[in-house]
Structures are given as structure tokens and as C-alpha cells.
């Protein structure tokens, strides 16, 4: 279940998303809203438990990405509740009938590179951070760029859902360096509809 505090402030969240243009000298806009403590404690614990049980499969194309990905019907089911879908629909102002979930695990030397091959303008990225105690100096930040030299990192905090509207921006996950040691960073990507793709 979505944190009750957000339900009572849905109009504020919507307004925040609409107004979250990060105005910079170039005139770029970055539509995003970051929702800390998005799930109730119990539901976040369920998500964490499901992530624990997932089998992650390494994927690597040196030119584009290196990470491990885990998917399961049970994980996707956790996010396809009436409460969550209605909340997301409210924020993005369109009817969302389902989302597909995939978990991405990044450990030392993993990364994604900006991908120019697909235009994903006017789609939405929904990213749930599921990593406790992460330090930005280890890499692993999700960062959006507008091609004009502006960088928009999204906050690193567990149980935080960030919704980003693709509007002339692309994203990447910064290389995880040796400071991360043996720790890994897990994020869940929710895609509206059945298609799967991280950033």
C-alpha cells in the first residue's frame, strides 16, 4: 500500500510533478517527483523479501551495460495493486492499467551507458530504490542528462519512488567503483505496460 500521507496529498504530488521543471540556463526541463517512504513499512518489507528470493541473471554488453537482472510474476504482482496503479495514474495523469517490474542489481564494475538508439520521449521511468546505506561516492547513482551539459541525479534513499517523465532527457547508472567493495545496489524499475527496459 502507498504511504497514506501521499494519498492525502495527491494533489500536491501532482502539482509538484507538473512544476518540477528544473530551470537552468539552457532552458531545459526535468519533470520528476521523488517520493520518500513511498510504501508502508510492511509492504516495503514484502518487496525486500521478494527481492531476496529473486534469482538475478548477469547481463553484459560492454558498450551499453553491465548488471544483473531479476524478474518474477510475484514481484510484478506486488506493484499491480489498485492503490498503486491509481496513485501512479493520478501523478502521470493517464490511466495506468498495469506495470511490469524488474529488479536490477549493480555490483562492482557495473554500469549503464546513455543509450541513443531509442527515442523514449513522453514515456515515464518509475524507479524504486531498494538499497540501504549506500554512499554516492561508490557510484551507482541514477543520473539523467539533457544533452546540453546538465545532469539531474535522482536521490539515493531506500523505499523512495522517483517518477521521471522522458522529455528530451536520457538516463544512466554511474559506474560502481571499488569503494563499493562487495556491496550491491538494487533498484526496481516499473514500466507502464508490459515492455521491459532499464533507462
Amino acid at each position: 500500500m502507498v504511504n497514506k500521507a501521499y494519498w492525502s496529498k495527491l494533489e500536491l504530488v501532482k502539482a509538484s510533478f507538473d512544476k518540477s521543471k528544473t530551470e537552468v540556463s539552457s532552458g531545459s526541463t526535468f519533470f520528476q517527483v521523488t517520493l520518500h517512504d513511498f510504501f508502508s513499512v510492511q509492504d516495503y518489507a514484502k518487496i525486500k523479501q521478494e527481492l531476496h528470493q529473486l534469482k538475478f541473471k548477469p547481463e553484459k554488453n560492454p558498450l551499453t551495460h553491465s548488471y544483473s537482472v531479476g524478474k518474477s510474476p510475484a514481484l510484478t504482482k506486488l506493484f499491480n495493486t489498485k492503490s498503486i496503479l491509481e496513485f501512479i495514474s493520478g501523478v502521470v495523469r493517464k490511466s495506468v492499467k498495469s506495470v511490469t517490474a524488474a529488479a536490477y542489481s549493480f555490483s562492482g564494475r557495473d554500469y549503464t551507458i546513455l543509450n541513443d538508439s531509442k527515442n523514449r520521449d513522453n514515456t515515464y521511468d518509475l524507479i524504486l530504490d531498494c538499497t540501504e546505506g549506500w554512499d554516492t561516492s561508490w557510484g551507482g547513482s541514477v543520473i539523467y542528462v539533457d544533452g546540453k551539459g546538465n545532469y539531474f541525479p535522482i536521490p539515493l534513499k531506500p523505499n523512495t519512488l522517483t517518477i521521471v517523465k522522458r522529455s528530451g532527457i536520457k538516463g544512466f547508472v554511474k559506474y560502481l567503483n571499488n569503494f563499493a567493495g562487495t556491496k550491491n545496489r538494487v533498484i526496481v524499475s516499473l514500466v507502464i505496460g508490459p515492455k521491459q527496459k532499464l533507462l
Binding site: 558498450l63 559506474y175 571499488n178
Partner: protein
């Protein structure tokens, strides 16, 4: 200068150890340390880099750039069989600290014929910073075929092609990986 050592795989490259007389190499390193290095940080890399050294006012570096882009470039043409525009080279200083890296790419950009890295510090294989050369299939990198460790006064040259996939592996130590790097262009 030691002999040019040629390697055909995974793509044509050459290694020259003891490239300059040691005293000259040390002078160059000292001169480079006075240049300004700016942090370059993106999805693909993190490291410090100088401006193009063709514009430096430092005499030691100027002398090296002139030698490298004329006398040495002429020799390089005959060794590599690659036509090079003499007197024209893109060259900058790079400084990699702990965690810095440059992820896999092929260097292809219009006009680039030969890429070079001239190391001014040494890192052993537990300290990272290696130049990793990739095998490729259908013009896509597959796995690392060779690693060349930074060694003081070592020059590495490779042909820039659709198969020249390489990376600078992460530096894993507090020691700096210092080098001059850039490209020779075609005529």
C-alpha cells in the same frame, strides 16, 4: 628508445618501452604537473584532463609536442603504414586517481587514424589502470583479450578502426595514473 613491438591481435597495436631518454621523460612529467587538470565526469568516464597541449606555454611540453607530431610521426608512418598528417596531433594530459576509469569504446571519430597513450607513471596489475583491449565480433566488443599496464616511459599506439574497442580499467590505488594521450589524424 627500445624497439617497436607490433601485436596484431585483437587489433593492430604497438608498444614502445623507454620511449624517451629517462631524463627527458622525468622533465616532461615535471612540466605536466604544472598544467591545469579539469575533472571530466560522465556515463563513460571519470578522470582529470588538461586542455589540448598544443596551446601550452610550457617549453618542455612544446618541444615534446613538436617532436612527437613531426619527427616521430614520420617514423610512425613508416612503421605502421598509416598516412598521418604531420605536425597535427590532438594531445592532452590525463590523470586518473583511485576509482577513475574510461569504459569500453572504439575511439572512432572522423579523421582519427592512430591513438596513443604515453605513460608517465607505473601501476602494477593489482593497482588497476590497465589499457584493456577487446576481442570483437560483428563490430561489437566481446571479452578482454589483452591488458597493458601503465609503465613509466612506455608508449602504446593502436590503429583506430571499427574494431579498436578498449577501455581504461579502474584505478584501484592511491597512486596516480598519469599519461599523455590523443590521436594522429589522416592526411
Amino acid at each position: 628508445m627500445d624497439k617497436f613491438v607490433f601485436f596484431s591481435k585483437p587489433f593492430p597495436h604497438w608498444k614502445f618501452d623507454n620511449f624517451l631518454p629517462e631524463k627527458k621523460a622525468v622533465q616532461l612529467l615535471t612540466a605536466l604537473s604544472k598544467e591545469i587538470f579539469d575533472l571530466k565526469d560522465s556515463d563513460l568516464f571519470t578522470f582529470f584532463q588538461t586542455n589540448d597541449l598544443k596551446t601550452t606555454e610550457n617549453n618542455v611540453i612544446q618541444e615534446f609536442v613538436t617532436f612527437f607530431s613531426t619527427v616521430f610521426a614520420k617514423k610512425l608512418e613508416s612503421v605502421t603504414g598509416t598516412g598521418i598528417k604531420l605536425g597535427s596531433v590532438d594531445i592532452s594530459g590525463t590523470k586518473y586517481c583511485n576509482t577513475h576509469h574510461l569504459l569500453p569504446h572504439d575511439d572512432q571519430l572522423e579523421g582519427r587514424k592512430l591513438a596513443f597513450i604515453y605513460y608517465l607513471s607505473t601501476l602494477n596489475n593489482t593497482e588497476g589502470g590497465a589499457l584493456a583491449l577487446y576481442n570483437s565480433k560483428n563490430n561489437n566488443p566481446t571479452e578482454v583479450s589483452e591488458r597493458i599496464q601503465p609503465q613509466f616511459n612506455r608508449l602504446v599506439i593502436f590503429k583506430v578502426t571499427s574494431k579498436s574497442f578498449h577501455e581504461v580499467e579502474e584505478v584501484l590505488t592511491g597512486k596516480l595514473r598519469i599519461a599523455l594521450s590523443g590521436w594522429f589524424h589522416g592526411k
